[in-house]
Point group: C2
Chain length 235, copies 2
Amino acid sequence: MNLLLLEEGDLIAPDRALLQGRRLRHLHEVHRAEAGDSLRVGLLGGAMGEGRLLSLEADRAELQFSLEQAPPAKLPITLLLALPRPKMLRRVLQTVAAMGVPRLVLLNSYRVEKSFWQTPFLEPAAIREQLVLGLEQARDTVLPEVVIEKRFKPFVEDRLPALAAGTLGLVGHPGPWPACPRAVDGPLTLAIGPEGGWIPYEVEKLQEAGLDPVQLGERILRVETAVTALLARLF
Amino acid sequence: MNLLLLEEGDLIAPDRALLQGRRLRHLHEVHRAEAGDSLRVGLLGGAMGEGRLLSLEADRAELQFSLEQAPPAKLPITLLLALPRPKMLRRVLQTVAAMGVPRLVLLNSYRVEKSFWQTPFLEPAAIREQLVLGLEQARDTVLPEVVIEKRFKPFVEDRLPALAAGTLGLVGHPGPWPACPRAVDGPLTLAIGPEGGWIPYEVEKLQEAGLDPVQLGERILRVETAVTALLARLF
């Protein structure tokens, strides 16, 4: 937690907050904070700045803060991701939030196991929890938008062309494709497949929607690693 | 497991292996393999190729294989990493092996908690297990060398200058440094700090050993994400 992220519900005055639960425990157990300590804070969806612990007890902490700094810029990207397995999903959500992706589409694919769609980690509160952890890690305050598309074809045929219009559209896919470009200017739409990759039909449909396949070399990376590697190379 | 990695001890003939344990369970449970199936295989430290399951039973499988393909090239880098917390260490070892880092130095730092050095995950067999998982993921056969340096100063003063000689030396560190370069030619020595970063004294000592600080933007990334992002940008 490199940023203490406050929510509207924590505020007891425009410049004061009351903390309980996970963030309080973190202050005690990880930061080993004491009353009087200064901390970096941010308001979810708002600005960032400094806070000072007015009091810190076992069951609550009170904090005074001032927020003057804008959160870091997001990357100009929409990321489409074949739904990863539940454990990976949680980490990917943190990574996506930490890296500054503003919009994530979780998409079905032939190689996404049907059971993955049943995971409680897809519930809005569970998604939000992981995104908040990513924001706290990276020092950002703005939640990415997460869209869930359980049907590949209607999404790719009906909605993706408009989403990708005016952007550089790419599909990360192993094979005899051009190498993924570097340091791209301007907005991007990037699709990353499931473990085992997109099937050829899906690559064709993504191409029809305006996305060009690119590859990252012969090594097969886990989804989380591929997301980070592609973003780091593209921006 | 995108590559079935065989070890010398598995071989019952130059072109035949007997599988038990984790890899056998994986064939049953994840691959749902059957006798006659073809698989990608590699010999630890050797070549890669195709294998065919001659038999597959609950407690053993027999495989015939031929190996004609060289493993993928490694990155020309020595990676120095402040020892991460045990859970992160395991994932980082997988990532390092998957990304093709040939030499990793796990190093002490002021902000590495002393207890991290006590973890059983630092035992050679535990390190090897995670590296093998990374190789199986990425389709590589060559284990990275992992060196453990529990004392920062003697390593950085006495051994690092020779290790970094003739390479581009970089320290990933947040702050007012030049941006991390892209698509570097030639060998690299890269140092990545602990959660919370190197302390100024450590940055100075690394600079004296020939490493220049570079930064990756204002977002603070987890160690595993920073490793992937820096490697993807540098190569």
